[in-house]
């Protein structure tokens, strides 16, 4: 999996790793938009460039095996990677794909990733990741979930 340095087009390989206790001290609301400390005890992953420590994006999830589903609780990129002046592209996509892989590994053909974005940005997720809408909830299932994983894997 990789991200793209927007201004130069340089591609960087990334790792998506579990967040550990020490990381939480670095996760300020100013840089990561939410109070990530409240996610202590949840399953939280960070995206870093291979060999580096700076955290560029975060996702926290809840596994719901009884529904063959993984719910994205919180997702963010770091402040400098937001908007049209972002430094790196594809951070959120990689994080969603990582969650998609966990879901397929756990639940196979029944795999589902869900999230509930505000209405204003829901259309963006539907368009970009081919998500389905059910009420307020967006979900990614087979076959779209497989296509997303293939897309991000082929981008190696």
């Amino acid at each position: 999996m990789n991200i793209v340095h927007v201004s130069t087009g340089t591609i960087f390989q990334v790792d998506i790793l579990p967040v550990d206790e020490l990381d939480f001290k670095l996760l300020t609301k100013a840089r990561y938009f939410f109070s990530w400390n409240k996610e202590k005890g949840e399953e939280v992953y960070k995206l870093v460039i291979k060999g580096q420590k700076d955290i560029l994006g975060l996702v926290s999830i809840e596994r719901i095996p009884s529904e063959w589903r993984i719910h994205i609780r919180l997702l963010t990129v770091s402040k400098e990677n937001k908007g049209s002046a972002k430094v790196y592209d594809k951070i959120a996509g990689n994080l969603i794909t990582h969650v998609a892989k966990i879901a397929v590994e756990e639940f196979g053909e029944k795999a589902c990733v869900s999230l509930r974005p505000k209405n204003a940005i829901a259309n963006h997720y539907i368009k970009k990741y081919k998500m389905n809408r059910t009420g307020m909830t967006l979900s990614l299932e087979v076959p779209e979930i497989l296509n997303l994983i293939k897309l991000y894997d082929e981008d190696e």
Partner: protein
Amino acid sequence: MNKNKNVDAEFGVDSRYKTKKERDADSVALMQSRLDRMKNLSEEDILRAKLLQLKLKMEKYLMEPVYDNKHHFTQFLVTYVDTIYSKRSDFAKDINVTANFLSKVINSHREPKEEFILKLMIHSEKVFKTISEFHNTVWYQVYYREKLRKRCRVKINGDL
């Protein structure tokens, strides 16, 4: 205006459920929609999902510490063959080994020769072409990781 909003859309999503009621309502509605969509899944999509699941499980096995004594190589092999074929003998025919040899490998009564793993690797590369990148060393890595672990265990027990 809307376009700019969309550019910023991915900075973050907070989709934590605020109440149990909200969560339960979501679960019911979503499950109903998903079950409806699942009815329309093609055989091909189900096959792709099962094979991708196998690939991800194999990659996870290679990444994480393993403490059990299971035959992981043969378990993955059985899943692979049974996912694609209704008869194991058809797979044996396709990779040009006897059904008897395949059966012995699957039941851990015989070591898979290097040639067998090579054939399995070539077969997998073709199968996974439309699904996801399948690194051609994965079967080797799984096999030798398990073998190495067993060797170490025998040595440790012997030393004790």
